[in-house]
């Protein structure tokens, strides 16, 4: 078991969504909590996000979606990660995601969904509690 010196997080913006202020706020909060954050930039395909997760050997993939396409994009990302042997990477989602969609997303492999206005400390705490644990 390799002891990681820092938690590495991929913050991803998939699809046509062009609003990334939320993603950047999260990225900065995670950095301030001592994590190494790789931000993909806008308009990434699920395949690009999975490839980035592989190459950067991240512990967490945090996906921000405000476009409403979460039921299409998130399961694709989750499946892609599993196919690459990255099923134990923590997949988190944020943005505009209705409560009633959350159970289906968790079924598909999303670990947790954080809605708008979630205190960044909550997200930081969640990651610190769940990375490196079974």
């Amino acid at each position: 078991m390799v002891l990681r010196r820092a938690i590495r997080v991929l913050v991803a913006k998939p699809g046509l969504d062009s609003h990334d202020r939320g993603a950047k706020v999260i990225a900065r909060a995670l950095r301030d909590a001592g994590m190494e954050v790789i931000y993909t930039g806008l308009h990434q395909t699920p395949a690009q996000i999975v490839e980035a997760a592989v190459q950067e050997d991240v512990d967490v993939v945090a996906v921000s979606i405000l476009s409403g396409a979460h039921m299409t994009l998130l399961p694709k990302i989750a499946a892609g990660l599993r196919a690459e042997g990255l099923g134990d990477v923590l997949l988190l989602a944020g943005g505009i995601i209705p409560e009633e969609d959350v159970p289906a997303l968790k079924e598909a492999g999303v670990a947790e969904v954080f809605g708008p206005g979630t205190d960044t400390a909550v997200i930081v705490g969640y990651i610190q509690d769940h990375v490196g644990k079974d």
Partner: protein
């Protein structure tokens, strides 16, 4: 995916498996217990890649240029590795690794392996494990490896200990003529790039650089196999090591990395430099210099760790530090005590 042991990981990496490469990079970056065994296993298979360093001031467009170069090499059919270093916060230890944003494209390309590294407190422009990370990519079969430094400008001589060809990237309007005249930056570059050349003043910057290079302000010891700064300070190879034959006069290339302008010319310049290294003795001298730089740096790091560990265990470190802080013992005597303690 878990690997049974170092041997299995090494085999997978040497076969070009990019998941193994990603895992191997993490291991050497973290300095995990398996790291040394892994490096020993794959080092004999390194030395095939072309390693290109890219340095220069912040804002000059290094990341965009690196991505443009990477894509150009991919179009030529070569496999590419990119190591992009960004600074870690000295307070939180965290980092925003933002170079990957410039990659672009619509589809993932496993032929372009891009790894973002945090400096993790290291000074000199890279991270302490950057050379090991490059070795992993080299052993995995990446034909061209681009290494982008943190981007603080003149302090970044460390790239000299790692790359065969070094690009120094400037831009118009950044006061770079004055910056370039200061020692260091002109001595580092094998090729000077004036990026954002569509802006006013690009021609003036390029002309200025050409003039200073013509005046011989550039590397005098360029063929002598300059060393990087590293942990032990800059070291100059003796003048008698300079090979006979033509010197390399760094070209100045204008680019607009954002749309690929000048990239072909830059590729040509890199090829010419690679040919120069191969056909004169300069390439061999640089490899020797890089080996010296790395071995000494690693030895120093290992010794320092051993020293700290020993001192902690014997309980002497805190006592010595209290003496020094209280001015009852000077720094040099304290250091000698520490070292003596190691020998016991």
């Amino acid at each position: 995916m878990a690997y049974e042991d170092v041997e299995q990981l090494a085999r997978a990496l040497l076969s070009g498996d990019r998941r193994a490469l990603a895992r191997a990079i993490s291991i050497v970056e973290d300095g995990a217990p398996e790291a040394r065994a892994l490096i020993k296993a794959v080092y004999p298979f390194t030395g095939r890649a072309r390693i290109i360093g890219i340095t220069g001031s912040p804002g000059a467009g290094k990341s965009t240029l690196v991505s443009a170069l990477a894509r150009a090499y991919r179009r030529e059919g070569r496999t590419v590795g990119v190591v992009a270093v960004d600074p870690s916060s000295p307070f939180t230890g965290g980092a925003l690794l933002g170079d990957r944003i410039r990659l672009g494209g619509d589809e993932p390309d496993p032929g372009l392996f891009f790894r973002s590294l945090a400096s993790r407190g290291h000074v000199g422009g890279l991270s302490w494990a950057a050379a090991d990370v490059v070795d992993m990519m080299d052993a995995a079969g990446r034909q061209v490896i681009l290494v982008e430094t943190v981007g603080a400008g003149q302090s970044e001589v460390e790239i000299m200990g790692l790359a065969g060809t070094i690009l120094v990237v400037t831009m118009p309007g950044a006061g770079d003529e004055i910056q370039a005249a200061k020692a260091g930056i002109l001595e580092i570059g094998d090729i000077f790039v004036v990026n954002k050349a569509d802006r006013d003043g690009a021609d003036a910057v390029a002309a200025n650089l050409e003039m200073m290079l013509d005046l011989g302000e550039g590397k005098v010891a360029v063929d002598a196999g300059h060393h990087g700064a590293g942990a032990i300070g800059p070291v100059r190879v003796a003048a008698e090591a300079v090979p006979a034959g033509p010197r390399w006069r760094p070209p100045v290339v204008k680019t607009v990395a954002r749309d690929g302008g000048g990239v072909d010319e830059l590729l040509n310049a890199i090829e010419r430099h690679a040919a120069y290294l191969a056909s004169t003795g300069a390439g061999a001298l640089r490899r020797r210099a890089r080996a010296a730089e790395r071995v000494l740096a690693v030895a120093a790091r290992i010794l320092l760790e051993e020293l700290k560990e020993l001192a902690q265990r014997a309980g002497r470190l805190d006592a010595l530090l209290a003496e020094v802080a209280g001015r009852r013992l000077d720094v040099y005597t304290a250091a000698e005590e520490l070292i003596k303690g190691r020998a016991e």
